[in-house]
């Protein structure tokens, strides 16, 4: 752009009246930070005072606003970065990882790669669930797009308070969980479907721990030819900074500061302006235009505008390349008149990307965006050095050292491991086991997710070979992971799964961290995929609480050691702190999106039972107790402990499972998770329209009924055709497994030796399980 930029302004940026705080007492600094809602700590204000003392002038409003964005927890990871480095930083180097940027990029073969990232949109969704969830999708799409990847799959792990009773009055200012749930789902539906990216996996968990602070995590996988991989940085001074996509308005101002503190009774009122407005029908052509430009090598580097808006994105884009920038804020296309320069600088208006472009390539780039009707505006230039200068008209409204602005002082934070959970007594058996199983199937955490899954287009783009629902068309059941046909021309595919274990994390964060990775990997193995990469969203409470950081520390340790055992890369991730408020705290909730490789998309393993007379096996050790399980959460009482980490046993079991599948010895596999073995068997039977008979006397490790409901260690139920019995038993030798029973009939029969202690009418139970969860329809809305 600025061939005709006005002559550089020699005078220094002038402080604005409302920002005059240097020199000032600490008390005045704090008052100033509060008045401008900067959310800066005392140490940060001190560092700021020192900086301006060195500069010999007062700060401007634009400078303060931008700095508050980049110093927020949300943008800087200042509290979590040392811990991430400590644990993930020491994982062995991984040649499969091609980039760690806005999203991680992993090589698929010599020609293709995939990108993955997950992040949270918790606080916006707590105050404005429809828009908050929708813009969460919008943001994660841009992260993947920024690498030059085409988004091909979305996932959305969600956590809410209980939908119904026992009714206690909600804390003031907190929205009913049912309202949040239905509107979050509708927001994902309307944005994801319109933008044309399939939502292929996810999870929904209901628990009182999430009533005040629901969690809305959104993940995305993209694919790209390796030749299109773009850096998230400018690569030469003189490159033009082109802002593309939506116009800038007042929405989303201060969003990151909002995300970087706890929720309060007044959050909804005070922070509605911090929630952005999404527009999938601008995003869709924006994706086309960015990828077409990248294909034609017109873009040197690209970054998405998310938290902190232009201030964060353009600053990081040039600083990562070792450069500075000159920006013309008045050139930013506005949605409404009268935005102040500082508002333009930090607005989080959606559907925007910033591109670094060689000057000679700008006309060709602009032509592509024009054809797609997507605004594209040169707004500045990459400069040598590390200063940024911000102009509005002829006025210099800000000038800062980028190294200072983008790198906040690391807070001194205390971490102390949370006290270990006290040992629990043995759990008490239910009076009626059949009744207990039926109750679990009818629990909101046990019901079929079909009613939600159907609202999301999980097939657009035509790659979804392994669908989120499997089985007979009339009796669909849950899949463990989705499988996408990629690269084109086959024969391989990418499997996508999620995992979370908040209750184990609450009992023992290190164990819980390991279990999250184990669960995602077990889901991938269950469709016949080799786990390869994961991205994590770490949802935690206030980092000022030493046990919160202590838990994060332990969770990361557990995740890192399990990922290393599985040889799984962690090329990207996100941290969301300050979840909680009003005296409530969420359990540590790390959430994982994992990607695995399927060798042959024509042979995807699914969870539905397929053949009368087939044999059923259980692979994996039974946990010793029920602590943290749905059974215990429903019924209370002692749990009797939880499973130790699977350790190297997990990849060994996974390998055995994959080998058996490759040999054609498996007809179905399903990971044992929420609800335990009983739920797992029922889900498999529902999908196939078949019954089963299992004998629990074959199970070891605990009272025979406990494994029916225990959760939290990798276990699978395998369906094996009779002719493959020998092959399977030799393939599993040396591993922990049991022959459970057989497939057949229409009912679910549970025996212990000769005594039949439960017989479930599966055809009768199915309709209630399937339909009990259809959310009330929420009409289409404009976003």
């Amino acid at each position: 752009m600025p061939r005709r930029r006005p002559a550089p302004h020699r005078r220094k940026a002038r402080g604005t009246r409302e920002s005059r705080f240097a020199p000032a007492s600490e008390k005045e600094l704090a008052a100033q930070s509060e008045a401008l809602r900067l959310g800066l700590t005392r140490e940060e204000l001190q560092a700021l005072g020192d900086y301006y003392a060195r500069e010999g002038r007062e700060p401007t409003r634009v400078e303060l606003a931008g700095l508050a964005q980049s110093w927020s927890e949300h943008c800087s990871y200042k509290s979590s970065r040392p811990l991430l480095k400590e644990h993930f930083g020491k994982l062995p180097p991984d040649s499969r990882v091609l980039a760690r940027g806005d999203a991680g990029v992993v090589a698929l073969d010599d020609e293709w790669a995939y990108a993955l990232r997950i992040e949270s949109h918790n606080h916006p969704s707590a105050v404005e669930p429809y828009g908050g969830a929708a813009t969460g999708i919008g943001g994660i799409l841009r992260d993947v797009l920024a690498m030059g990847a085409k988004p091909v799959a979305l996932v959305d792990p969600l956590f809410f308070g209980p939908l119904q009773g026992p009714h206690r009055p909600l804390p003031a200012g907190i929205k009913p969980p049912r309202y949040l749930f239905e509107n979050v789902v509708a927001g994902i539906r309307d944005y994801g479907n319109r933008v044309g990216v399939p939502t292929v996996a996810g999870s929904v968990l209901f628990d009182p721990a999430y009533t005040v602070n629901p969690l809305v995590n959104v993940g995305c996988v993209g694919v790209l030819p390796r030749s299109r991989l773009l850096p998230n940085r400018a690569t030469a001074a003189g490159q033009v900074l082109v802002l593309v996509g939506g116009r800038t308005g007042r929405d989303g101002i201060g969003g990151v500061a909002f995300a970087s503190r706890e929720l309060t009774a007044g959050s909804a009122e005070e922070s509605r302006g911090a929630v952005q407005l999404g527009n999938p029908i601008l995003k869709e052509p924006l994706i086309h235009a960015c990828l077409e430009s990248a294909d034609r090598h017109l873009i040197a580097g690209m970054k998405d505008l998310g938290g902190g808006g232009l201030a964060t994105a353009s600053g990081e884009l040039v600083h990562a390349g070792g450069f500075g920038q000159d920006l013309r804020l008045d050139r930013v296309p506005l949605r409404e008149k009268g935005l102040q320069p500082w508002e333009i600088w930090i607005s989080e208006s959606q559907e925007r990307m910033i591109l670094a472009v060689e000057p000679r390539k700008v006309p060709a780039l602009l032509a592509i965006f024009k054809r797609w009707d997507v605004p594209a505006t040169p707004i500045g230039q990459v400069t040598a050095g590390n200063r940024e200068r911000l102009f509005h008209g002829r006025r210099l409204v800000g000038e800062m050292d980028l190294a200072f602005r983008l790198d906040p002082p690391v807070p001194v934070l205390v971490r102390s491991p949370p006290p270990p959970a006290p040992p629990e007594d043995r759990p008490l058996p239910p009076e009626d086991l059949a009744q207990a199983i039926v109750e679990m199937l009818g629990d909101p955490n046990g019901l079929s997710r079909e009613g939600i899954i159907r609202l999301y287009d999980h097939e657009v783009q035509g790659r979804t070979v392994g669908k989120p629902l499997v089985g007979h068309a009339a009796t669909p059941t849950h899949a463990d992971a989705a499988v996408l046909e990629f690269p084109p021309g086959g024969p391989g595919g990418l499997a996508v799964a999620v995992g979370s274990q908040p209750f184990l994390c609450a009992l023992d964060p290190r164990r819980g961290g390991a279990a999250v990775v184990e669960e995602a990997a077990a889901n991938l193995y269950a469709v016949g995929a080799v786990p390869e990469a994961l991205t994590d969203c770490l949802n935690f409470g206030n980092p000022g609480d030493p046990t919160v950081l202590g838990s994060l520390d332990a969770v990361l340790a557990g995740m890192a050691e399990t990922a290393e055992l599985l040889n799984v890369s962690i090329p990207s991730g996100n941290v969301s702190l300050y979840n909680g408020g009003l005296g409530s705290a969420i359990p540590p909730t790390p959430v994982v999106l994992a990607v695995g490789r399927v060798a042959d998309v024509d042979r995807v393993l699914s969870s539905d039972l397929k053949g009368e007379g087939d044999l059923l096996y259980l692979l994996g050790p039974n946990p010793p107790g029920l602590s943290g399980s749905l059974f215990q959460r429903r019924r209370g009482g002692p749990g009797g402990g939880f499973a130790p980490p699977a350790g190297p046993g997990l990849p060994r079991m996974g390998r055995a499972l994959l080998d058996l599948h490759a040999a054609g010895a498996l007809r179905a596999a399903h990971d044992v998770s929420e609800g335990g073995l009983a739920q797992c068997l029922c889900e498999m039977a529902f999908g196939g329209g078949l019954g089963f008979e299992v004998d629990l006397s074959s199970l070891t490790g605990a009272e025979s009924w406990v494994p029916l409901f225990s959760e939290g260690g990798p276990r699978w139920v395998l369906e094996v055709p009779p002719h493959a019995q020998e092959r399977v038993e030799s393939g599993l030798s040396g591993l922990s497994y049991a022959r459970l029973g057989t497939v057949g009939g229409r009912t679910g029969r549970f025996r212990h030796g000769p005594s039949l202690f439960a017989e479930l009418d599966l055809p009768g139970l199915f309709p209630r399980w399937q339909s009990g969860f259809y959310p009330a329809p929420i009409p289409f809305r404009g976003t």
Binding site: N193, P280, K370
Partner: protein
Amino acid sequence: MTDGKLPLAILQIEGTNCDEELFRALATLGADPEMVHLKQFEGRDVSRDERRRLGDYRALFLPGGFSAGDYVRAGAVLGARLRGVLGRDLEDFLRSGNLVGGICNGFQALVEIGLLPGRPGGFQVGSPQAALNTNDSDRFECRPTFCRWDGGTFPPLRNSLSPGTVWEIPSAHGEGKLILSGEANATLPELEENGQVLFRWVGPDGQRAGYPWNPNGSVGDVAGITNREGNVFGLMPHPERTFRTRQSFGGRRTEPPDGLGDGGRFLSAIVSYLQRRP
């Protein structure tokens, strides 16, 4: 075409999002599809070599998606733009015997501009004679669905497919319930009489079965229709999503997974028909 090519246009505007899989399917079947943005027909904001003429193609496909967001009424904005940009060209194109087809959102747009079910004696872009209303379930649903061909005038299938054939072609829409205006030539008995019913929703066993197998409550379980001449067709379900058997839902898992799926057979019939025609 003398060079043996079969140029097919796949129309794009913002929010068209089922274009790439349709492209892959048609290309795999040996046709020569090209994605064409409506502005390339219009000649606005595009360079000279990006301009396209509808008459240079043998068929125009309107793929699924949420064109322009469908915030008003599905297909309404796309319909209005088609009318403005292509109106007369579209009529000429059809009069020359070329084929125009709409899938899901494309079907909605063709209904919107009155090409489906269409008035006799011409190919006039005009006022709608039907609507695709909000589903009876009042929600968008993505689900496996089955369609039955009962015979009809649609030339690609007329002589090659036995009536009663059931195909698995999945659907994903919120507004697919066909309602007919009842004006002359736009009643269900007339459509049936004229062989204009392309597909009916049926259950996996091939029998008409109500919700969810008719996912939207469409009159007469109609899933797709053609014009009287058979060279304009529209259907709610997505044939490009069962292009290969491996994409189909578990219910038909006994078939070899490497072959064409049911949607692939439908698209293949269209491509073969166009290839056979001079």
